[in-house]
């Protein structure tokens, strides 16, 4: 894959588009293992410490007919799209597959993957990530879960994962998080220096490429390319909120209508990288602390609604004027959160929302009309 001549954001888009070629080349070049994972609670720190490249299983946004016999169609299109990638052999290079507990939907995909999609080294692992990180009992439990996971990884690779290795894993991940936050900061400006589409490409690329290489590209962007940018007229400042969403085509369409997506709360966006693992002598505890304190997926946001606090802060800091509520069809946790969230944004922040239900493919023409109408309504109100 020839990337060098391209600008960094284009390189990210290229990697996302050709993620499987990238992973195969990485394996060939490094001789390392590639571990696939579902959802963003997988402690990538431990995998990087073990010398692996973690890659997130994402869908392809292509209609498919291979999952119908495995997962009933009332489960979310994203989990079915993910499984389809495995059943079609697109992740045939994976050495192992794993998941840290999030929702029932994605667990269907994981469970069927383990049954029907062989990995090169036949390694699979499920971490019982607590669904109630708000409980003081969650931290000690997660520490034990992560210790067991580390042990399983050590047995798999045939060597111990040392504190030095873990330090490296934590440092690589934290650097990645810090740099991506630095770039997100650029969206606060009246004339944002990066678009929402670019940011989504950047985060998706982080989830499917070597993190150290991603870090180098981020640093290169900040050092060499950022100073040459002049920013764009933001138009209406939007935020996208909701389920997993890596639909860059939709985002580019929305940003072509006189709006800029300046902030987000979803798992191929800020929720993936917002907080860092703290420094601690006990590295596993530090990693556990990071995932306990992570901006929660709605499945894990109870009794208190801590996600609301995060979203409100983003709305203020990024001067958000409107929100696009994106929900993967059948996604229960988001279905429960969206109505009260829309109400809260309107009543407390005077931010109107547009609800859009996503499937594997989206009707871009219809959505374009709806987003246009939403923006026009907002402009009338403003």
């Amino acid at each position: 894959m020839v990337l060098k001549e391209k600008l960094v954001m284009d390189r990210f888009a290229e990697v996302v588009k050709n993620r499987h070629d990238y992973a195969r080349e990485w394996k060939q070049r490094t001789g390392g293992r590639v571990m696939g994972y579902f959802c963003t609670y997988m402690p990538e720190e431990i995998l990087i410490a073990a010398g692996m490249m973690p890659v997130r299983i994402l869908g392809s946004h292509e209609p498919q007919d291979v999952t119908e016999r495995h997962i009933y169609s009332m489960f979310c299109p994203f989990c079915r799209d993910c499984l389809a990638q495995g059943l079609k052999g697109r992740f045939e290079y994976l050495d192992g597959i794993g998941m840290a507990h999030t929702c029932l939907h994605i667990r269907q995909a994981y469970s069927s993957w383990v049954l029907h999609v062989p990995t090169k080294q036949n390694f699979s692992y499920y971490i019982s990530m607590p669904a109630k990180p708000q409980s003081p009992r969650a931290r000690p439990f997660l520490i034990k879960e992560l210790e067991a996971f580390k042990k399983a990884v050590e047995e798999w690779i045939g060597r111990p994962v040392t504190n030095k290795d873990l330090d490296k894993g934590i440092e690589v991940m934290n650097t990645n998080r810090r740099l991506m936050r630095q770039i997100y900061e650029l969206r606060k400006a009246d004339k944002p220096l990066v678009t929402g589409t670019e940011c989504m490409q950047m985060v998706c690329a982080s989830q499917c490429m070597d993190k150290e290489e991603h870090n180098k590209l981020l640093a290169e962007f900040i050092k060499n390319e950022l100073p040459k940018r002049t920013g764009r007229d933001a138009g209406t400042r939007l935020m996208i909120i909701g389920s997993e969403d890596d639909d860059t085509e939709f985002l580019a369409m929305a940003e072509s209508l006189g709006a800029t997506v300046v902030a987000d709360d979803h798992c191929t966006g800020s929720r993936y990288f917002w907080n860092e693992a703290p420094k601690s002598e006990d590295r596993i505890a530090a990693i556990a602390d990071r995932y306990i304190a992570k901006v929660p997926c709605p499945e894990k946001d109870w009794e208190e609604r801590r996600r609301w606090t995060h979203i409100s802060k983003l709305v203020d800091e990024y001067k958000v004027q409107g929100a696009l509520m994106i929900q993967q069809k059948f996604c229960d946790p988001h279905e429960f959160d969206i109505p009260p969230l829309m109400k809260m944004l309107k009543e407390k922040k005077n931010v109107p929302s547009l609800f859009l239900e996503f499937d594997v493919t989206v009707p871009v023409g219809q959505f374009r009309t709806r987003v246009e109408a939403f923006l026009e309504t907002m402009q009338l109100e403003m």
Partner: protein, 440 residues
């Protein structure tokens, strides 16, 4: 061609049927009148953690799923409820019990008359994505407190971890402290222990009753069992529930001894997997016309029963509590025992954990209950119990077991195509060599 009626077995009505119905009605009246009676009304999932507040004394548990099912069984009441939920912006495709319950709450109409009962607080375990989100929403609607208890997924048996049990048990203890604060009542550990033991015994008795249904002819049919397991869902851990299951077990034993069948014309035995369409329980009657009797299901056996699955894979009811040699010294002991029982429930090891485990479970009960086919309800109303069903179907097919799946919804009649379902099921039993039995 119709077959001439062949009453090969004797049958008779269940003596405990009316008692069960009375218990059910009394329970729903108690929910409605808890306030007037000076009792606490505590909300959460049916079955679930309903025994946890026992230590507070003088409390009634309002179980959400059973209420949602009751509402869903009556489309005239159910449709406005679900529409109210949908009008509030909540998903048309989320948990159907929630949609019926929540709409009834929004409309402030209780199915058994009067206003929707407002709980004093909610306590809920979280094993499916909806559980805690449901009661978070309900608590916000009424402005009452809510405590959620995470039930972490993972393997049971040899592969289970102590940390998982500790995590869950610890949260039970936290919930008790929390309930003392919000209720202002002192928690009585002896009452808690009694409820835990009652629950153990009732669930064990239910398992024994299910085992009796391995007999040919089956003394019970699933349509009846779906009503008979209700006390386990709404009165779990109570003396009333325990007494009922003792009497029911004695009656079913008597039926087995006397060769009494649920279906006089039994000639084909099948499992009906998945929660049934409560608004169309006639699904069972349609197949009975062919002499096919439904023996039960993983859902029904496991949800309410305590089982021991040995290395040979055989399902056996767990022994009586007194034979376990367990002595409770303090609250921590009780909570830990209950945590093990709760997490160890066989239902959570299948539907809520692993496709492979659930397939083994279905194959096992198919063999043990001497079934000849499996009917699967692909229930759009429940993603928890509906998990992995298509993987289970593949495994059944691989094992050469006749299986048919039909789409529907346990408590949303709008998702149910009656004519197609009947056609499908009749075609299935006819493919099994059965013909409709003449009533003449």
């Amino acid at each position: 061609m119709k077959q001439v009626l062949d009453r090969r077995y004797q049958t008779r009505p269940l003596q405990n049927w009316n008692k069960c119905r009375e218990l059910r009605l009394k329970y729903y009246q108690d929910v409605a009148s808890a306030r007037q009676q000076g009792k606490l009304l505590i909300g959460g999932s049916a079955g679930g953690l309903s025994i946890l507040p026992s230590g507070l004394g003088n409390a009634v548990w309002f179980g959400g799923e059973t209420y949602g099912a009751t509402v869903g069984a009556d489309p005239a009441f159910s449709y406005p409820c679900m529409e109210a939920t949908e009008a509030a912006g909540l998903g048309r495709d989320t948990c159907v019990y929630f949609r019926n319950y929540f709409g009834s709450m929004l409309l402030d109409k209780y199915y058994f008359g009067g206003s929707f009962p407002k709980a004093d607080f909610y306590v809920q375990s979280h094993s499916c994505d909806v559980h805690s989100k449901w009661y978070q929403a309900a608590s916000e609607h009424f402005g009452v407190p809510f405590f959620g208890i995470d039930m972490p997924p993972g393997p049971w048996g040899e592969d289970r971890t102590e940390e998982r049990v500790n995590y869950f048990a610890g949260q039970l203890l936290d919930a008790i402290d929390w309930m003392e604060k919000v209720s202002g009542r002192k928690y009585d550990d002896e009452k808690f222990a009694r409820a835990v033991i009652n629950e153990w015994e009732s669930a064990r008795l239910w398992a024994e009753i299910c085992v009796l249904n391995q007999t040919v002819p089956a003394p019970l049919d699933q349509k009846s069992m779906l009503v008979l397991f209700l006390p386990m869902m709404v009165l779990r851990g109570t003396d009333r529930s325990l007494e009922f299951y003792r009497e029911l077990k004695a009656e079913v034993e008597e039926r087995v001894r006397d060769g009494i069948a649920a279906l006089a014309t039994e000639r084909y035995r099948y499992l009906h997997e998945g929660i049934p369409p409560w608004h169309f329980l006639r699904v069972f009657r349609i197949l009975e016309e062919y002499g096919a009797v439904s023996l039960g299901s993983l859902y029904m056996f496991a949800m309410a029963g305590h089982w021991d699955v040995g290395e040979d894979g055989v399902w056996r009811p767990l022994p009586p509590f007194e034979r376990l040699g367990v002595q409770f010294k303090n609250r921590e002991d009780i909570a830990r025992f209950y945590a093990e029982t709760y997490i160890g429930n066989i239902n959570y090891q299948g539907s809520f954990w692993s496709a492979a485990v659930k397939s083994r479970q279905v194959l096992q009960i198919y063999d043990q209950w001497h079934a000849e086919g499996v009917v699967m309800h692909l229930n759009r109303g429940c993603k928890g119990t509906g998990g992995y069903m298509l993987e289970n179907r593949l495994e059944l097919i691989k094992a050469g077991i006749p299986v048919v799946a039909y789409e529907g919804n346990a408590a949303d009649r709008r998702d149910f195509d009656e004519a197609q379902v009947i056609d499908r099921l009749e075609s299935f039993v006819e493919s099994q060599g059965l013909t409709k039995i003449s009533r003449e």
